[in-house]
Symmetry: C2
Subunit: 148 residues, 2 copies
């Protein structure tokens, strides 16, 4: 899957780990398959609790398109988005979300708040979970094991 959007998201997750950030990476791709943005968690580096990979990738892609909507674009992310990111994905009108590991404790798509299933969610993307799940979770497990 070299250079597939998911492999690029995984590469971002590895870069995150390398700089001491929770290894989650995200990529936004337009309808033609062009990469618009790639990002990884930067909450500690930026001292910004909102600096999750998805938020940073969405903001960068919006800047790239000079548009607050990413209609027709897809997001690839190595971990199930939290409720903050899931709601941002909905606001940005992302078409499809492909995510890696499920996040029972902090996820907000298939777990917890299940943002896209709420009546207050006015745009629901297609969601594909569990992509390259073992690789995505291994990255996270190794990171937290090394930290302890």
């Amino acid at each position: 899957m070299t250079n597939s959007p998911f492999s690029l998201a995984l590469e971002q997750a590895r870069l995150a780990a390398a700089c001491g950030e929770v290894p989650v990476g995200a990529v936004v791709v337009n309808a033609a398959g062009v990469i618009l943005a790639r990002a990884h968690n930067l909450t500690e580096t930026d001292k910004d609790p909102c600096a999750h990979a998805e938020i940073l990738a969405i903001r960068a892609a919006c800047k790239e398109l000079d548009d607050e909507r990413l209609t027709g674009c897809d997001l690839y992310v190595t971990l199930e988005p939290c409720p903050m990111c899931a709601q941002a994905i909905s606001f940005a009108r992302i078409r499809r979300v492909y995510f890696g590991a499920y996040d029972v404790k902090g996820g907000g798509v298939e777990n917890g708040a299940r943002i896209f299933a709420q009546s207050s969610c006015h745009h629901t993307p297609e969601v594909y979970g569990g992509m390259h799940e073992s690789e995505c979770s291994a990255l996270l497990k190794d990171f937290f094991k090394a930290r302890r």
Copy 2:
């Protein structure tokens, strides 16, 4: 309530309306009552779907403190936070949230995803809703009426 944090949040909401943004304003105050940040919606101006008043105020306050946690700080906002902002409030470890108008369609605190009541929510602030509700909703109603 001149110069109270809530009056400053309302002032921000009015500034938002004046520049064509949905009139929601937010203020972050530390435990000593010092204003750390004030912001209003900038989604259209910044072409950023994440640029809600709360997110911008939290990010600015974190920058001010050089810390990704706003432990002991309170947030004042003129509208019930959406799920994205509610989760960001939790991540930032905000102590108390004072909000104005309830938001049946888009809110994520007393409505919809009820973020702070989810088991995936690891920090729950104290919440006081309905502050200066009529003034906060009037601002929003007038804004949307004028837009039609």
